[in-house]
Every structure is written in C-alpha cells, then in structure tokens.
C-alpha cells in the first residue's frame, strides 16, 4: 500500500439504503475512498453500482444513510452543489452535448470550474486558456483529430473517450467513473488504463467497471457489491483469489 492510503478519506459512504419497491438496490452500503486512491466497485449486473453512484452525486436521494465529501455531509446538498464542491463523474450511458463539438464539450467542462456560469458577455470558446487545456485533454484521450466533430456524429467508442475527457478535465477532488471502458476497443481501453494510471494521485477515484483487466491494473482496493450489499472490501490482490468474489462475480475465468 502506498503512503497515500494513510491520508484521510476524500469520500465516505455510510450505511446507504435505497429501495425501489421490493428491491433493495442499496442495502446498507458502507465504503470510503482515500485521497488519491482508486477504489474499484465491482459486482453483478443490477447489483446497485450505478444507483450507488447516483446517490453519491445526488441524483437519487437515499432512503437512509449519509454521504460525506472531505468530511462534510452532503445529504442537504443538491446535485449541482456537490459538483461545485469537487465531485465529478462519468456516465455509464454517455451524456454529451450532441450539438457541441468534441472541443466545446471539454471547454464546457473546463469553464464550469471557473464559476463564471452567469457571465453573459464573454465567449468561452475564444478563451485561449480553455481551448489550449481542452486540446490537451483531447490529446490525452486520443481525439485531437476529432476535435471539431459533433459529439452526436462520433462513433460509440469515440463518444466514450470524449465522455472521459469531459469528466477528467474538470479535475474534481472526487471522481466517480461508471464503466469508463465500456464500448472502447482493446487498444482504447489499454490507453485509457494507462492514462488513468498516469493521473493516479490527482483524484480520489471510485471506479465501477466490468473489464477486469482494467480493474486489476488500476485499483488499489476493490469492493464487491452483490444485491446492494458490500460482500468484500480489500486490496486487489486479495479480491482476485477471494472465493466469495469468484463465486459472486468473476466466475472461473479470472484473468
């Protein structure tokens, strides 16, 4: 474990409960993400991973339980407020501004940090700072060529890459990634894994992913979620071998 793991948690999820009718999507989830750590949450489909993320970022109100960022409770804060307090995320089902170019999508993400959201006069696209930074991010995810393509007209995988660029560019304290590798080809996911590794330490990352290669390559710790319950939390190395995990999730093929 790195020295970072000692530092205090950037994100704490405390006994979260959420039911949809009879179904308990979150059934007392407790976990934390330390500053600079990548904490992977894996689990079968419908285990409640996305719901967990939605509750952390405030799109869904939990029935019970608490979410703390940097030690402060978020329960009272609406979603956009949490975002301002340094919470960023990527979406499992891509959420981009289709009529904006790749570049504009990233610029939007960058300017949202500036808090000038009500500036009625200046044009962010003409702001060198933003444009340069945006180009840099597009470069990192490998989309420079597509900078002026409309998001709606990009290939699925390209959109996934852009999704990540937008999420990362905001440079949040806590970053929630919902299946970032989904839809990317082998090469792209390899690249993305490398990128995330290179950025390691910048953000506290909660990573939801079904691509085990990526998970084991990135995660410091892994939690396994089954039917809304955390059945395992521990260092990646353990998870690989842990019987419960294999039974519940990995199946015989463990990379």
């Amino acid at each position: 474990m790195t020295d970072r793991s000692a530092s205090k948690p950037a994100l704490v999820v405390d006994d979260l409960h959420k039911s949809f009718g009879a179904l308990k999507a979150s059934n007392g989830i407790t976990l934390d993400v330390r500053a600079g750590e990548i904490h992977a949450v894996i689990g079968p489909n419908g285990a409640g991973k996305s719901t967990l993320i939605s509750q952390i970022c405030g799109e869904i109100r939990p029935d019970k339980g608490n979410v703390l960022i940097g030690g402060d409770s978020m329960n009272a804060e609406p979603a956009h407020q949490r975002a301002r307090l340094g919470l960023g995320r990527s979406f499992q089902i891509t959420q981009l501004c289709g009529e904006f170019t790749a570049l504009e999508n990233v610029v939007l993400s960058l300017m949202s940090r500036s808090g000038r959201l009500f500036d009625l006069w200046r044009n962010p696209r003409k702001n060198r700072e933003y444009v340069d930074a945006a180009m840099e991010w597009l470069g990192r995810v490998g989309l420079e060529a597509q900078r002026n393509a409309l998001a709606s007209e990009m290939a699925h995988g390209e959109r996934r890459q852009l999704e990540m660029a937008v999420a990362l560019a905001r440079n949040p304290k806590v970053l929630l990634l919902d299946e970032p590798m989904a839809g990317m080809g082998p090469e792209e996911s390899a690249k993305m894994t490398a990128l995330l590794n290179s950025l390691k330490g910048r953000y506290a990352v909660l990573l939801v992913e079904h691509d085990m290669e990526a998970v084991f390559a990135l995660a410091d710790r892994i939690s396994v979620l089954v039917y809304g319950k955390v059945v395992f939390t521990g260092p990646a190395s353990q998870a690989r071998t842990d019987p419960t995990v294999r039974a519940a999730y990995l199946g015989e093929e463990a990379c």
Binding site: H80, F91, L96, C97, F118, D119, R170
Partner: protein, 319 residues
C-alpha cells in the same frame, strides 16, 4: 456567414424605407414597422425556445403586458383619475423601462412556477398562464374589457416624433438591432453555452455544477423583457392595445414566426417575421381565401425547409 447575413440584413432594414418612398409606396413603412416589431418578439422568443428548449406557448402575455403598461399609463394621463396616486405618463423614458421591468417580474413569477415542469407540460403550463392573463385583460372593464384601449398619441421621446411613421420605423429597427446583437452575444457567452448544454444533456450539465433552474429562469426573464419591449412598440405603433395581444393564437403566431425563420438562430426569426407578416399582409389584400395559400406554405417550410428559412445557412458552426 452569420456576420454576412447580419450586416446584409441590417443594410436592408436601413435602406428599406428610402426605397419604399422612392418607389412611392409610402404604406410600406407601416408594414415594415409591424414586421420589425414582430421580429423583435420572435428574436426574444427564440432565445428561450431555440437555446433553452423552453417552448413557451404563452409569450404573448408579455407582449400584451408591455403594451398595456403603455396603454394604461397613457389612459391615466388623458382621461382617467390617478392610479395609486400616479397620474400616468406619456414619456417613453419613464414608461418603457417600467413596462420592461413589469414583464421581467411577470416572467420571473411565471418562470419560477412553470420551470418546475418541462417538455410538453412546460408548453401547456405557459399556455395556462398566458390564458389567465388574457382573461384578466378581458375582464378589466376599466380599461375597455375585450375592446381594449385606444391611445390618443404615441409616447414622447425628446427630439423624436413617434407620430411620424418613418421615425417610428427607425426607432423599432434600432430596438430590434440592439436587442438582437445583445442576444447573439448572450448565446455565445458562458451563460449561453450553459443554457444550451442544459438543453442537450441536463444530467451532464448538473454534474458540471450548473443549477438548471436559475439559469433557465434568467433566460426566461430576459426573453420576457424583450417580448415586452415589442409589446411597448406595438402599442405605440397601433395606438391600440387589445386583450387578444395575449391570446394563445398570438403566442402561436410568434412560435410559427420563429420556426419559420429557423429555431435557435436568432437571425432566422427576423427573416421569418418578414415572410410571415408579408404573407399575411399581401395575401389578405389579394384574396379573402389567403389562408388557403398561407397554410400550405407554412407546411412546406416545416416539412422541407430543413430548419427554417435561414436555419441551414446559420447552423454552420465556428469554434
């Protein structure tokens, strides 16, 4: 492209009247004024409709309010006892700002409630408020009920005689140009970009820290004030304000004008206004069955004019 169209249009607006006089068709001035006023309303509506996807089916209420503020304050000057101790006024410098302010306030109230909904429900709730204003005006017997209010003379601006059609026209054009320029700047600003982002992916925008409600509300208020200004000018042009300024049909007309010209292009709606008022004016003069021709024309634009008259031209983007 956008620039070229903008300046081209501006040039036409300025020379239209001299040309009309030269062709010795003075009536054109009156028509052009009407067009400019419609355009102003349409541009304002396009701000929310095109960039915020807030399809307001009640915008006529602001048009009417703007007009009635002018009408009523004039009414109190001429032939009625003071209103809350205020003797009313004919001075544009006093009345027009008041009118726009009033529209802003109404916009804020309606917006605050209406923005709880979205999509079709938003269309209908704005319609509902529009209709309420309409019925309110109809039952304002002190101010002529559904016959509306006649004005003796237009407002006064130091050094300008609005009673002179040409002057009136240039005042309207100035208002139109300034407002449009402002809106064009607005939609490219941080605020504008956020507004458009909200339209395309609300979830994303929120998770970038955008407070959706307050952004939309501000846009709605600004749009309301612009439409109100159009109403103000209308009152001065027609010297008559009637409740049907607030009717749903009027809101529909504004919407038609915007779509006709090209949603989310700001300049498009101006062209739309020209064509719409033109069709109505010319056709109704030609035949009593003018609707038989205007209707299909609108249909053709909707079906084939991909995104309105200028939409195709203006949609091309520049980062």
């Amino acid at each position: 492209m956008r620039q070229r169209i903008a300046f081209g249009g501006l040039f036409l607006l300025l020379v239209a009247v001299p040309i009309a006089q030269w062709l010795n068709y003075p009536f054109a001035v009156s028509f052009l004024t009407r067009f400019a006023i419609y355009a102003l309303a349409a541009v304002s509506l396009d701000l929310v409709l095109g960039y915020g996807a807030l399809v307001s089916f009640g915008h006529a209420m602001f048009f009417a309010l703007g007009g009635y503020v002018v009408g009523i304050s004039a009414f109190h000057v001429t032939d009625a006892e003071p209103l809350f101790g205020w003797l009313g006024s004919n001075s544009a410098l006093i009345v027009w700002p008041i009118a726009m302010l009033a529209c802003g306030v109404l916009g804020a109230l309606v917006g605050m409630l209406a923005l709880r909904t979205s999509g079709v429900q938003f269309i209908m709730i704005t319609l509902a408020f529009g209709q309420m204003v309409y019925f309110l005006l109809v039952s304002l017997q002190a101010y002529g009920g559904d016959d509306g209010l006649l004005m003796k003379r237009p407002n006064t601006i130091p050094g300008l005689n609005l009673a002179n059609p040409t002057v009136m026209y240039y005042v309207c054009v100035t208002a139109l140009v300034v407002w449009t320029a402002f809106c064009m700047r607005l939609v490219d600003s941080h605020f504008g970009m956020v507004l458009r982002a909200l339209r395309q992916s609300e979830r994303r925008a929120i998770n970038l820290g955008v407070a959706p409600h307050s952004h939309r509300l501000l846009a709605f208020i600004i749009s309301a004030m612009g439409t109100g200004l159009a109403g103000v000018l209308w009152a001065n042009y027609a010297l008559l304000v009637t409740p049907d300024m607030a009717s749903w049909a009027k809101s529909g007309e504004f919407m038609a004008v915007v779509i006709l010209g090209g949603v989310g292009t700001l300049l498009g709606p101006i062209a739309g206004a020209l064509v719409f008022t033109g069709l109505e004016g010319v056709m109704s003069a030609l035949t009593e069955h003018w609707m038989l021709f205007v209707g299909p024309i609108l249909v053709l634009v909707a079906v084939y004019g991909r995104s309105g008259l200028l939409g195709a031209l203006l949609k091309e983007r520049h980062v």
